[in-house]
Subunit: 243 residues, 2 copies
């Protein structure tokens, strides 16, 4: 049985540095000063910058680095990733794309994760002067451009505005494809944009309520493992290394 | 079909306030002073207190509040919990037991979660002066006492030292029981103690490698939902409320 690689894209994610329109906002200048950083090098975080975010466009979809943090931890720690069968991208609402090295071990601590991502936005890769493959890279890219670059054979988007279909049915279908990709929203509220929905061959609603990004990521990866009989293979293994 | 409630116990969790033996450690006194708190009201956190933890007994199993944070977010946000079919306890290595209100919405931000848990250790419930049901309660209790109190009809522990069995097989089996409980380790390294293992009717190894607590919690809950046909029921629902 061939091993299909799943491409996971956490799309339109609520991850960005503080936008220029807020650099002079009193709460932001105060915060930046206390942290000894220019706002352009600080991640927008609703936990700390809520008051200053009110006038931002689409603000309900922004300023939640914790979503990407948890989702990446779920993805990177999964057996699927450990087997080398997962490719992980984070696309942001402002059209940056982060690629995560499958071997990256990200900080579990939120503040350390935030520092890492701030460094990533500044230097476009972390560590900034990695000699080998970096842990994370970042480039300016739209989701359309990313999909064009990856060339998946089938794109499944998970969204409550899709057609009702269990996650099991949705994922077992794409697991039979040659190069499947799954899009999971990386934002706390709202829906995918029209542009994102157009990229999908199929949009599935796996629950009548919106589930949290990290939960959907965890379950989608697990269903993909199940469709590939990975859990059975891995319990019968006694040693490390790829199967 | 009857709706079985799953009891989830995150056991021997790496969650505690700074132990007395470290209160006079220079790194700890400095940290406590900077945060204007007595060390007894500060959570032990390897991200910040690594150096001072070296001489602590079983230190590799301690000081990881983030594990409980992510695991609780996975559990509380799950469809199973939203249906009122999940009871959640966190047992700590030092024998405290936290009960989580199924309706609790915990902070997504790590620092706010830590503050909440510090308050919980100080006042035994949060909010401290809740008039209705609190979000979280805490009491001194061993895992043995907790299990005696809950009286589950069957206890499944998940551990890499158990017998190889897929999570699907393990969970579909307990979903047929009257009052099943599942124990997931809330620590980063090592194994359940002998005392914990004795409480289990069955110990299953669902992967040859140790998986992270939040991943196991997410997947175990999802398998329980699958065994109860909950995903199918919920995609056919168009409105809120219990099924």
């Amino acid at each position: 049985m061939k091993n299909v690689v799943l491409t996971l894209v956490i799309a339109e994610s609520a991850l960005e540095t503080i936008p220029e329109s807020l650099w002079t906002h009193p709460a932001i200048t105060k915060w930046a000063k206390a942290h000894r950083k220019h706002p352009q090098h600080v991640l927008l975080d609703r936990s700390y910058h809520h008051a200053s975010m009110k006038k931002l466009e689409q603000n309900e979809k922004r300023g939640r680095p914790d979503i990407v943090h948890f989702a990446l931890l779920e993805a990177l720690g999964s057996p699927l990733n450990r087997e080398g069968l997962l490719t992980i991208y984070v696309h942001t609402l402002n059209n940056y794309v982060i690629w995560a090295n499958p071997e990256a071990r990200l900080p579990r601590n939120y503040s350390r994760f935030v520092s890492l991502i701030e460094q990533l936005f500044e230097f476009r890769q972390v560590p900034p002067n990695a000699t080998g493959r970096p842990l994370l890279t970042l480039k300016k890219q739209t989701l359309t451009q990313l999909i064009k670059e990856i060339k998946p054979s089938y794109v499944l988007a998970l969204s409550t505005i899709g057609k009702p279909q269990t996650l099991e049915a949705s994922i077992s279908k794409i697991a039979k494809k040659n190069k499947p990709a799954v899009l999971v929203g990386g934002f706390p509220k709202g829906h995918f944009s029209e542009a994102t929905l157009k990229l999908a061959d199929e949009v599935a609603r796996i629950d009548f309520q919106m589930l949290e990004t990290w939960t959907v990521v965890s379950r989608a990866i697990y269903e993909f493992e199940r469709a590939s009989s990975l859990p059975k293979k891995r319990i019968d293994t006694t040693e490390g290394g790829n199967l």
